[in-house]
Amino acid sequence: MTDSGQTDKRPLIKLRGVTKVYGAGHAATHALRGVDLDIGDGDLVAVMGPSGSGKSTCLNILGCLDTPTTGTYMFKGVEVGRLDRDQRARLRRHYLGFVFQGYNLLNRTSAIENVELPLVYRGVPAKTRRALARRALDAVGLKGREKHAPNELSGGEQQRVAIARAIVTGPAVLMADEPTGNLDTARSHEIMELLAALNRQQGITIVMVTHEPDMAAYAKRIVHFLDGLVESDKRNGSQT
């Protein structure tokens, strides 16, 4: 167990003194109080902490859905705080994938069409889209389930579709917000094994928020948040 906030690889993500304040005056909530965090290419990071510790806020900022109140967030050398809404949308479109606790698949839309969605916004032609989506579904072990609608799939399968949708574009980072939060233990382990495999085999950087230590155990590195600050940042011994 080595203490290493820094990785030997070039930092893909670099947070410096990041704060986030909601509201103003006495009603102001300080969600983040000055976070420094580097995440290198190919890492698998679990972000943990009690609710209200700022871990979700941090993931929103890392996912370019939100911007820091102060401090800087450098993504691939670009300062995200300086980008406007559309520029951040383009950045998400080209470099980020998202997996949510509640899957957030489009209802009554087949699995393969859900997976194609990010490619539609990238302007990929229909034929290529279909082929890429098929390959992504294969990669998450859903071969033959392409035509099923989300309500015809189990929770674990739905989350696999969501993961396929996140990786279909070949993103630099996959942001997962409690990806196993709605699943039973067996399914949760399957999903974590899938994410670990994607990280290992395809080198996708994964940042995952979770409050289950069992799931965090799959990560290479565990970052603990408390009261808007990074409390601990450890390499996971079992993985290295």
Binding site: A89, R92, G97, F100, N104, P118, Y121
Partner: protein, 401 residues
């Protein structure tokens, strides 16, 4: 990308067929009424125009009193038989001139009686109106000069009074006097105003003046201009001659009018067009109401699909792409309403044309305008809900519900 968006919109609409149908109903009804009003109105105008044209484009109507607009005229002294003679004698471009004075009477044959109109005129009437005699003969010169008790009857009068009997040579009572039937007119059918043209009895003018009206008045002079001659010139010549005859001092207004078919057409179609315009405006208001319905349902749809919008924004949809998605959905809704409305309107026109006796005149212009207008309603009323969707904060939207 646009095709993807349209396809997406169609699928969204298909998911909620009943709701979509009710949403577009306002537009369907609005467009259908516009199409029906304008098509039937256009048909009525064409019908009027055609029937007037069938009278011949070279017909002039000379009436006492000055026309001041549709249906309005100032009073003026009636004409005399000598005015008719003067026009026939002095104006070279004239082919035929017919006087006419008319009065409603009850015609009686045996036990049958029928309310009709009796018109005093001469043989020129048939010539001017291009109306041949079907059986019997015209008035003879001596009958015209002497004011003989003879008449020529229209087809409706023949049917009502004689049925299957032979009218020629029979006697017909008009008011207190009895007249011998010497001729039958061809059936002509309804006029542009919807009146039965065949419902008339013709008498020699002099007979009419002496025995029916009891005065020397001629209330209408119909003039047909020779082929190849200018109707405008004939019109001016008649005006000059009549001013002379009626002793109108230079600079004073005419107390009569000479109208050509163009003016008469304008007069008759003017009313139809005003009515069409008004009904069209009412229909346009119903389109706006339909637009509000679309706006309402689009707002509901945006709220229902907040999470979907959040997901789309998170995976990299731009603001304007989300805007487009909802705008296209609104436009697809409203323009499909337009399409159904056009079909419904055309079906209604075909159904009503027999009932209203108006021809069906397909007007591609109004179909295109109605379609574009309905699509425009979608753009206008879909914009605000679409903007609301596009401006959503992805974090809030993902957390929705």
């Amino acid at each position: 990308m646009l095709w993807d968006t349209i396809f997406l919109a169609l699928r969204e609409i298909k998911r909620n067929v009943m709701r979509s149908f009710l949403t577009i109903l306002g537009i369907v009804i609005g467009v259908a009424s516009v199409i029906t009003m304008v098509t039937l109105g256009g048909g009525a105008t064409v019908q009027v125009t055609n029937q007037i044209a069938s009278l011949g484009s070279n017909l002039l109507m000379v009436t006492p009193g000055k026309r001041m607009g549709p249906g309005q005229s100032s009073a003026g002294a009636p004409f005399r038989a000598k005015d008719v003679e003067a026009i026939a004698r002095d104006i070279r471009s004239v082919a035929a001139v017919a006087p006419a004075s008319a009065k409603p009477v009850v015609a009686i044959v045996g036990n049958e009686n029928w309310s009709t109109t009796v018109t005093g005129t001469d043989n020129q009437y048939m010539k001017v109106r291009m109306w041949p005699i079907k059986a019997g003969r015209q008035f003879s010169d001596s009958e015209l000069r002497a004011g003989a008790a003879v008449c020529i009857v229209g087809d409706t009068v023949r049917q009502k009074l004689f049925g299957g009997l032979e009218p020629l040579g029979s006697r017909i009572r008009l008011g207190k006097l009895s007249f011998q039937v010497i001729g039958l007119l061809e059936a002509k059918g309804q006029s542009s105003m919807g009146t039965d043209q065949d419902d008339l009895v013709l008498l020699p003018l002099r007979t009419f003046q002496r025995r029916i009206s009891g005065n020397q008045d001629v209330s209408l002079i119909q003039v047909s201009v020779r082929d190849g001659e200018s109707t405008e010139k004939a019109q001016r010549d008649i005006e000059r001659l009549m001013r002379e005859h009626r002793h109108i001092s230079p600079g004073a207004e005419d107390d009569f009018s000479v109208m050509d078919m163009k003016e008469i057409t304008r007069m008759l179609t003017g009313t139809t067009q005003v009515l069409t315009g008004l009904l069209g405006a009412v229909a346009a208001v119903s389109l706006l109401v339909g637009g509000i319905g679309i706006m309402n349902i689009m707002l509901v749809s945006v709220t229902e699909r907040t999470r979907e919008i959040g997901t789309r924004l998170a995976i990299g949809a731009l603001e304007r792409e989300v805007l487009m998605q909802f705008l296209v959905e609104a436009v697809v809704l409203s323009s499909s309403g337009g399409l159904f409305g056009i079909l419904l309107g055309l079906v209604a026109c075909i159904g009503l044309k027999n009932f209203l006796q108006v021809p069906f005149v397909f007007n591609p212009g109004i179909v295109v305008i109605a379609f574009l207008f309905s699509a425009g309603v979608g753009v206008v009323f879909g914009y605000f809900p679409a903007l609301k969707a596009a401006r959503l904060d992805p974090i809030e939207a993902l957390r929705h519900e």
